[in-house]
Symmetry: C2
Subunit: 299 residues, 2 copies
Amino acid sequence: MPEDYGWEGEAHSLAVEKVLYKGNSEFQEVLVFESSTYGKVLVLDGIVQLTEKDECAYQEMIAHLPLCSIPSPKTVLVVGGGDGGVLREISRHSSVEQIDICEIDKMVIDVSKRFFPELAVGFEDPRVHLYIADAVDFLRCAPKGKYDAVIVDSSDPVGPAQELVGKPFFETVARALRPGGVLCNMAESMWLHTHLIQDMIYTCRQTFKGSVHYAWASVPTYPSGVIGFLICSTDGPPVDFINPINPIEKLEGALKHKRELRFYNSEMHSAAFALPSFLKREVTFLRDSPISGQPICIS
Amino acid sequence: MPEDYGWEGEAHSLAVEKVLYKGNSEFQEVLVFESSTYGKVLVLDGIVQLTEKDECAYQEMIAHLPLCSIPSPKTVLVVGGGDGGVLREISRHSSVEQIDICEIDKMVIDVSKRFFPELAVGFEDPRVHLYIADAVDFLRCAPKGKYDAVIVDSSDPVGPAQELVGKPFFETVARALRPGGVLCNMAESMWLHTHLIQDMIYTCRQTFKGSVHYAWASVPTYPSGVIGFLICSTDGPPVDFINPINPIEKLEGALKHKRELRFYNSEMHSAAFALPSFLKREVTFLRDSPISGQPICIS
């Protein structure tokens, strides 16, 4: 029996071996099933959020793209990310002293702790402080300049996450970041959502006065097989996102912490900023991005 | 109505607006349909070969990865590629004097000329010489050292293409290449076919005494959303595949020839050789590949 997500002329289907959980939280429908080829799968409101086989690509990229781009990150905020996978990745960085996570839906956390122990292990880190709250409210109350990095691991901008792509939200993020602090935000598919990407980049360029980049990674179970990341820095010490100043290979213990890295490495980091010609042409700003103008080194 | 290809616990489905053609050649079933989101789709024996929306990624990468890696390519052989898309891309290279194509199934060419004029335009180049033949026989009869580059644009290694992944085939390719000549071969998905990739790399390392690399690109309508390329050179002048010696941006007229490049550029070329950690770990040889040992420059 196939489990389809989305049907706008295209669908990716995974065979369901067994439904393990189905419930309705205050915010959304939460479903967990065992697939025959991708391990266990978490589905929110009918949209695949992660599978055990390929979650490595998304979780590792969204955490290390920002954290490897700045020296010695200390305070990090995760918006969403209730499965815990991003926490697991952040905890590889021994410089980090505080990891705040603001997740609106406690059921996602409970379900992850029950069915996805390889992700929920991230909650066990003593540096983690969990807030069950709306991220917009949380960020409004956060002290100005508190965070070195904010990672927005939201679901698609429908349902509870629809506020997380607007200018007011990005402004509260920028306010909560220190000068030269960084944001990494889930940013859809380059093959399917060019206009949404263009809008997000336009908004972020107005808000983030450091730099604004787009990167992407291969995730088979996301629509069109890719996911993008919008990565920005505030006015302050310049951040060179493409050549990580804090390479993961040089962080003691990071490669083995809790489990080996499966996807991310410094070459994948730099390569993620290389963009197809069609995207550079359609998203005006990307034509002027530094990667097309000057040689960059990846190692 | 969805059109599924493959069902081993996973399927990608495209809505069929209209079936445009269905026929059986001597070798395979040939189907063309209009999809609602990816334009027209070519299907051989139930497996999606290309869609109008994303064919750019595959055709451009498989042609320019090898041809931009060597100076002034003159003679090129395409194995398979009956849709003509690879020919269209090769013809951007004005140094090329002769483009031979050996396709076993004339029906693929006829169907492409009728339904995919943007690909079949490749056949109109006067440098193209078409041979309807079995590629193994054709290569056995080719003069030793004739080609600067061989591009194997085959279907999956079942049906007519099953001979094209074995050692004898790679040996006939190597024999037909000049010293320092290059092969680029379609090489499956890094997410799904690690063992097949390992086998192909092992075989090619025995046969190609120059270098052997693996690269990949995002193609939404292929299984797991990616396709790989095995790229090799014979003993002779060394070939640095990762830093193209013959960048497409510097080739006069190449960016606009017949149509604009949609996917490939020099950054995408170099980035395609960055591999996820799981692939480097599982495919032993890749651990020792130059990209992990020394800095490389992409521009």
